[in-house]
């Protein structure tokens, strides 16, 4: 299972990259659990989000699942092509499968996230 060291993670399996503006996706473990992702509903740019809020929906053949804001802030960018073709979420979860970027309003929330070791423990 791929768990890149330089990323932070949540208990709900999002990964977070960066500090002021953070990029968010779902982990390799999460995409494998979901398998066959067929649809993705991303938040609107400009939306203010609160840490822990359900802001996106990912649908596999099996079921619909929420994706949560790992930190509070404002959505400043979304990975629009995923709305048409979500396959990169399965094929490249830490690369082309990124989902949205949040301009953080409370940088200290990032420190509360799991580091790679803690996340490895969570999913082991």
């Amino acid at each position: 299972m791929n768990v890149p060291d330089h990323l932070k993670y949540t208990e709900s399996h999002e990964w977070i990259d960066g500090s002021e503006v953070v990029t968010v996706g779902i982990s390799d473990h999460a995409q494998e659990e979901l398998t066959d992702v067929v649809y993705l509903e991303l938040p609107e740019i400009g939306r203010t989000v609160k840490k822990g809020e359900a802001i996106a929906v990912i649908e596999s053949v099996k079921a619909a699942n929420d994706i949560y804001a790992p930190v509070s802030g404002e959505i400043v960018e979304i990975n629009e092509p995923l709305g048409e073709a979500p396959e990169p979420v399965n094929n490249d979860p830490f690369g082309d499968g990124w989902m949205f970027k949040i301009k953080t309003s409370n940088a200290s929330e990032i420190d509360e996230l799991l580091n790679a070791d803690a996340y490895r423990q969570l999913i082991s």
Partner: protein, 351 residues
């Protein structure tokens, strides 16, 4: 929660287990889409140990079953089977099942896991003194081997024994094989004593069958518009409304439970019908339970089944709609998280 005798094998194959009909069952191994395609293109194997099996015997057993079930047992010769439905007095569906004539005085019934207790209670309650019933659901475990290469897998395991014809049954030693399934592909359901099923499952794996979970079983049957009892079939809708008139023999020479209701419904005309709905644009998979609505208008019901078709790569579903909305090409919307997406009534099956 009941455990299938294949639980340890499922775990070693990397299955994800979830509760289904009171059983802990494998939902998927490698992934629903891959498993789905294996069955459409090659051969897959499903654990169906949760399904129920009854034997009914007695001189008048064919007539007795005719008084309880919609299809006509008179059409069956020895070793032949038929799809049929058990109805309540209102013509609603208690269960759908396949029954096989072993001989003129013995039948084998394969029923849905979620309905074993209701079916058994119903049959017992209506059982006359000269009919003997046996519930062998705990004794038997089973596998379904399905796909265009199912016959080859059978031959690899049983080189000296031929599969029965389509819908037929063969009882041998202490196992039973039926040439049926729930995927729309050629294949068979194989039942053996629970303590032997792991060996048989392994044999069919060795013969090339890919392990498949209930997730693929559901997407496969939905593409073929095979109804799921408890969803597409229920105790308020009749089999005529479900589009299963072919399996309802009102002219078989005797009444059966619910036949008076169906007769009336047939002469007056149906008010609603179970239709196949296909997404016309990009959108989230339409799932069972989601509201459906007139375009831009009122909610008219719910999807009874739905999901993403792995073969068509688009959303499909089924729902009961008023008869005036049942024509092919009728536009209907599905409501997903307060947004609406267009569907269209299409011909059954989807694939």
């Amino acid at each position: 929660m009941k455990t299938t005798p294949l639980a340890a094998l499922h775990e070693s194959l990397g299955a994800r287990m979830l509760p289904f009909a009171g059983w802990e069952m494998p939902i998927q191994y490698q992934g629903i889409v891959a498993e789905h395609k294996a069955v459409r293109e090659s051969v897959g194997i499903f654990d169906i140990s949760h399904m129920g099996q009854f034997y009914a015997s007695g001189n008048s057993v064919a007539d007795w079953l005719n008084s309880l079930l919609t299809n006509d047992t008179g059409k069956l010769g020895d070793g032949e089977g038929q799809y049929t439905l058990l109805l309540n007095e209102k013509g609603g569906v208690i269960d759908d099942m396949i029954i096989y004539r072993i001989s003129a005085d013995e039948f084998f019934l394969v029923v849905n896991a979620a309905r074993i207790d209701e079916d058994w209670a119903w049959f017992q309650k209506h059982c006359p003194a000269d009919i003997t019933l046996r519930n062998e659901s705990d004794h038997f475990a089973g596998v379904a081997v399905q796909g265009p290469k199912a016959k080859a897998a059978w031959k690899a395991v049983f080189p000296d024994c031929d599969l029965p014809e389509k819908n037929g049954i063969l009882e041998k030693d202490d196992w039973v094989v039926c040439r049926t399934g729930y995927t729309g592909e050629d294949g068979f359901e194989f039942f053996s004593p629970a303590d032997q099923i792991e060996t048989w499952f392994q044999n069919f794996l060795d013969a090339g069958a890919q392990p498949c979970g209930l997730g693929a079983r559901d997407s496969l049957r939905l593409e073929k518009c095979f109804p799921l009892n408890g969803s597409d079939l229920n105790e308020s809708n009749t089999p005529l409304e479900a589009g299963l008139g072919f399996f309802v023999k009102l002219d078989k020479g005797c009444d059966f439970t619910g036949s008076d209701v169906l007769q009336k419904q047939k002469s007056k005309g149906l008010k609603q019908k179970l239709v196949a709905l296909k997404a016309t644009g990009k959108g989230p998979p339409p799932r069972g339970g989601y509201d459906i609505a007139l375009p831009g208008g009122e909610i008219i019901g719910q999807l009874t089944s739905g999901g993403q078709s792995p073969v068509l790569a688009c959303g499909i579903g089924m729902a009961y709609v008023p008869i005036e909305l049942a024509d092919l090409g009728t536009e209907i919307e599905v409501v997903v998280r307060d947004r609406r997406y267009p569907l269209e009534v299409v011909k059954k099956p989807f694939v």
